[in-house]
Amino acid sequence: MVHVSATPVLALRGVSKRFGAVQALTDVELEVHAGEVVALVGDNGAGKSTLVKTIAGVHPIDEGAIEWDGKAVTINKPHDAQNLGIATVYQDLALCDNIDVVGNLFLGREIRRRGVLDEVEMERRSRELLDTLSIRIPSVRIPIASLSGGQRQVVAIARSMLGEPKLVILDEPTAALGVEQTAQVLDLVERLRERGHAVILISHNMADVKAVADKVAVLRLGRNNGVFEVKSTSQEEIISAITGATENAVTRRAARTNGEIKK
């Protein structure tokens, strides 16, 4: 590994995870720095979700080490991850449709004043948070149900920012979104980076990865299959790493002349 600048916020060293007879992750390495977006890509079943769940504390790792700010830590429960400063936004949004934006942002950690919900303070802070993230939604007092898919995703991400996490994990944030909504979410990802958060972005969409990620970590069959710097890597190279096609001049040429990519 070529080490850049400071210590990574999160580093996985030789992480393995096994479910019964299935070896889900083998010797996986991953580094994420502050202010860096690392895209985690791989085919279905490559172990992306499992890897994220080990970081989020849903599945404790079997072997290997997790380093946080250079210090070895153990993450056994979702709570451990939260305490370290890891926020995870899952694919299926965890929002309540019937509650307004403010209520959803502060769900489970309401601000109280003399034992009563402090709606004024929560609304003020919600606006502040949405403003700093340049998130625009019709009103913070309308139910989540009236928002578009992109706006909901953006609210879900903003919700994870309330705890001032150092690392934000986004699981397929643009999966079900239209073109403009995807752009909104990608804008937000860039803003997270500007604010110095480390971001792990899981995505199937190469265009998204090329658009916002700094590095791409490829997983294949539960193993590392390369970490690329996005700027100097072509989409074909990443895709052949994902699919496992041997990377050489011939395949690259074939892909170019055919004008399409073998899945």
Binding site: G35, V120, R136
Partner: protein, 430 residues
């Protein structure tokens, strides 16, 4: 790793991006639904809500006006002070139980046992205080706690064991019915003393005219002050607030309503104690649901259980507590029912009673699908139910027809609820 091409993090484009972002933050999205200030803004907001199917209490209020108009035209005795006061007192028992049902409906669940539990509370009080001569206050508290425990037991089986609430409370309906009969014993009916605590609950009136007017003043002033100070805090925090003239208009409307009701009460026997207690419970539960984090959790569970769990809400505890609340209100309501007939008898909580309670909550506008509703719905709904009962009774219509008409009204309400949901879905609000 052989193909590792990690290099310096992208520092160069960070600067220009943040400049662009701060510029964008100040621009206002043209699609924003910014509410205009003043009356025009209020009107356009109202129109938008109507189009989106956000009807709120309007259908039930319109329905109530129609029902009253029909019965008044049929029988001039319907809208007299005496009949109005009697209806007001009659609706307290059913209404209080419906308040508990609103809590359960907010979770998207149902409690079928409240009728039986209300009967148990009446019987428990009667046996403890009349048969065993226990102190009335103590017996009252124990009777209410019986309901709390019954509800908590239902909640336990639902939340911890995972039995559907429908099945648990159906079992509860049968069990508590039997329990009540067992407690009442061979006598079957226990009469309550006319000057006793429980009978006074519905028979006591504040005959001094100042009481009703005073309450109207307190309610109006309380509403105005809380709205005013809330607005001031919002304005101080730089948040959009309601214009003062809107607050004044709302206060005046409330004042007119409160004083009309007070005048009607004073034309008969005065302000009924039962109505005061009902109002206190309505204010209290509304406060809990809308202003406390507990209430927020109840709504959240009605919206999405998974989201609530991920937000760290103790789902089981909230569920058990909601059923305990339903049981508690069933018991309190049961005491008011016993109070009106001045006895605890074997028929308590039977017949159409349970259905009327659930119908009241639903007719008032609480959604059967969870997450939407207020305890004030119980008041509106029970007004409809009791108005129909009293109106038809004045006409001398037999109970079979009463059942059919109440059933029709309930169906209409549920249809409105389902259609509203559909409209809201198409308008993206459900």
């Amino acid at each position: 790793m052989s193909i590792d091409k990690t290099s310096t993090p992208a520092k160069d484009h960070t600067v220009e991006n943040s400049a662009a972002a701060s510029g964008a933050a100040t621009a206002v999205d043209p699609r924003l639904l910014v509410r205009e200030q003043g009356f025009a803004g209020y009107l356009s907001e109202f129109k938008r809500k109507m189009k989106a199917g956000d009807l709120g209490s309007i259908p039930v209020v319109v329905g109530l006006v129609i029902i009253w108009a029909i019965f008044t035209s049929l029988n001039s005795n319907f809208l007299t002070a005496g009949n109005f006061t009697n209806m007001a007192v009659a609706m307290v028992g059913t209404g209080l139980i419906a308040v508990g049902i609103v809590f359960v409906l907010l979770l998207g669940e149902i409690d079928l046992s409240v009728g039986s539990v209300s009967g148990v509370a009446g019987a428990t009080f009667a046996v403890l205080s009349v048969t065993h001569g226990m102190n009335e206050v103590l017996a009252l508290v124990l009777a209410i706690l019986t309901g709390t425990v019954a509800g908590a037991v239902h909640g336990f089986f639902f939340a911890r064991i995972g039995v559907p609430a429908f099945a648990v409370t159906l079992a509860g309906l049968l069990f508590w019915q039997g329990f009540m009969l067992q407690v009442l014993g061979s006598n079957g009916t226990i009469n309550l003393p006319a000057d006793g605590l429980v009978v006074k609950l519905t028979s006591y009136y504040f005959s001094d005219v100042a009481a009703a007017y005073g309450l109207a003043v307190v309610v109006t002033a309380g509403y105005f002050l809380s709205a005013y100070f809330d607005n001031r805090r919002r304005a101080a925090a730089g948040l959009p607030s309601r214009p003062l003239n809107e607050v004044v208009v709302r206060t005046v409307l409330l004042a007119v309503l409160a004083f009309v009701v007070a005048i009607v009460f004073n034309q008969y026997k005065g302000l009924p104690l039962a109505v005061v207690i009902f109002l206190v419970f309505l204010l209290l539960t509304d406060f809990v649901l809308r202003r406390t984090s507990y209430g927020r959790k109840v709504y959240a569970l009605g919206g999405s259980v998974e989201a609530s769990r991920r937000a760290g809400i103790n789902v089981e505890l909230v569920r058990i507590s909601v059923f305990a609340i339903a049981g508690t209100f069933a018991a309190i309501g049961g005491l008011f029912v016993a109070s009106r007939i001045a006895s605890a008898n074997q028929g308590a909580g039977a017949g159409d009673f349970l259905m009327n309670v659930i119908a009241a909550a639903v007719i008032g506008g609480t959604s059967l699908f969870g997450g939407r509703g207020r305890t004030w719905d119980a008041l509106l709904g029970v007004m409809v139910i009791v108005s129909i009962q009293y109106g038809l009774a004045l006409e001398g219509v037999a109970s079979p027809v009463q059942y059919m008409i109440t059933g029709g009204v309930l169906l209409a309400t549920v249809v409105i609820d389902a259609v509203t949901r559909k409209t809201q879905k198409t308008a993206g609000r459900a």
